[in-house]
């Protein structure tokens, strides 16, 4: 049929085409690996790789013994890169600037502990800072760092380096939760971002863990002009 030489890419794309063009309808059972291998003149392992990729992409659903079927509710996923603010700004050709507002070791308030699922009021590093692009406020960062899991943060110098940049080099994470939302700027946020109180802001919140232990909570506030773009 397909006169191309067998390759998992060729096979993957051809199967993908059949699904997109509705040759195989959602929910339908598609031929088994053995049959496809014969059709494409390839080894079963090659077909398997193609099928696994499509399954990972959410286009197919596979179950042992039951076979492979076209996903009924194709849960399409998109990826977005976790921004590293300096690179993000410099990649646009803008000048990056960083300004530390405060850095204190203190007991975290209830709200913060609750967000991090911490029972006791742990000792934490609280950092507030501002990131600017071409001398214009780009992001206000309000961050809590768990000193129990990242004791090194106690002696870190956040005057020259943002907490994110420091953490990337000193505290890897295994899990993260991202929340995005819109809100009205508080008086503090407004004055820092040079906007008016009540103006809309784009907020990203990020919590990271290492092996179940919370590392940090970052509350990142952007002016409404901010765009978060991603492709599929």
């Amino acid at each position: 049929m397909t006169s191309e030489r067998a390759s998992f890419r060729t096979i993957r794309d051809e199967l993908s085409r059949r699904i997109a063009e509705r040759v195989w309808l959602p929910g339908a059972l598609i031929p088994g690996e053995e049959a496809l291998a014969e059709e494409f003149g390839a080894a079963r392992a090659t077909v398997n790789r193609a099928l696994q990729e499509l399954a990972r992409a959410g286009i197919l659903e596979r179950k042992r013994r039951a076979g492979t079927r076209v996903a009924l509710h194709p849960v399409r996923e998109a990826r977005f890169v976790i921004p590293r603010i300096r690179q993000e700004i410099e990649a646009r050709g803008s000048e990056y600037q960083y300004r530390l507002l405060s850095a204190d070791i203190t007991d975290a308030p209830e709200v913060i502990c609750a967000r991090l699922s911490l029972l006791s009021r742990s000792n934490m590093m609280h950092v507030r800072c501002l990131h600017l692009a071409d001398r214009v406020p780009y992001q206000y960062e309000d961050r809590w760092i768990n000193l129990n899991t990242v004791p090194g943060a106690r002696d870190a110098d956040f005057a020259t380096m943002g907490p994110n940049e420091w953490l990337v080099g000193h505290a890897p994470f295994s899990n993260a939760e991202f929340t995005f939302m819109a809100a009205a700027a508080s008086p503090d946020e407004a004055s820092l971002l040079q906007i008016r109180e009540g103006d809309p802001v784009f907020i990203g919140e990020r919590i990271t863990w290492m092996a179940g232990e919370p590392i940090t909570l970052a509350h990142l506030v952007h002016p409404a002009s901010h765009r978060m773009v991603t492709h599929l």
Copy 2:
């Protein structure tokens, strides 16, 4: 060393651990597949699979002949599921309701054509509708559908089914671009979402293409209470 039986999972996790625990530092060259295969008592193909997964996750960077090294700037990516609004609302145990506001066939304004990279003012279907959760406005949708690429939309009945639901079943897409931002509610948006004009809203914009041809532009407006959450 690791007394476990070889498996690409075991190997992947062990390598991942070495990177997380900084046994191998960012930028460092790690042993070749052959060497790792010997260390783990596995075949090279098995090690290859483990390494490829880590490379796909952005933890490793691989180059032919040059070898594999720990990513210097681990471009961590997070995935988010492209929400299907009915399922999203019903999954929370809320009642989903849909209300069509308007559906017209018209020439798209310049702004819309520009967003879709269309030169001429194409004939388009313009649909405006509202999605409610437990009788409270959840999302206002303002959508343009390219009738040149999806002629079937001309006869679709958007009174009972939202355009997204219809498109999922009738127009697959190969590419998509997502933009998220915060903005102030326009008078129209405010009255539809039952909020005040100027209140912050969370906006998602989605453009989809099939084989290079633009299919649709969706402008989705949520009240500020909306949260977009994703995990890594």
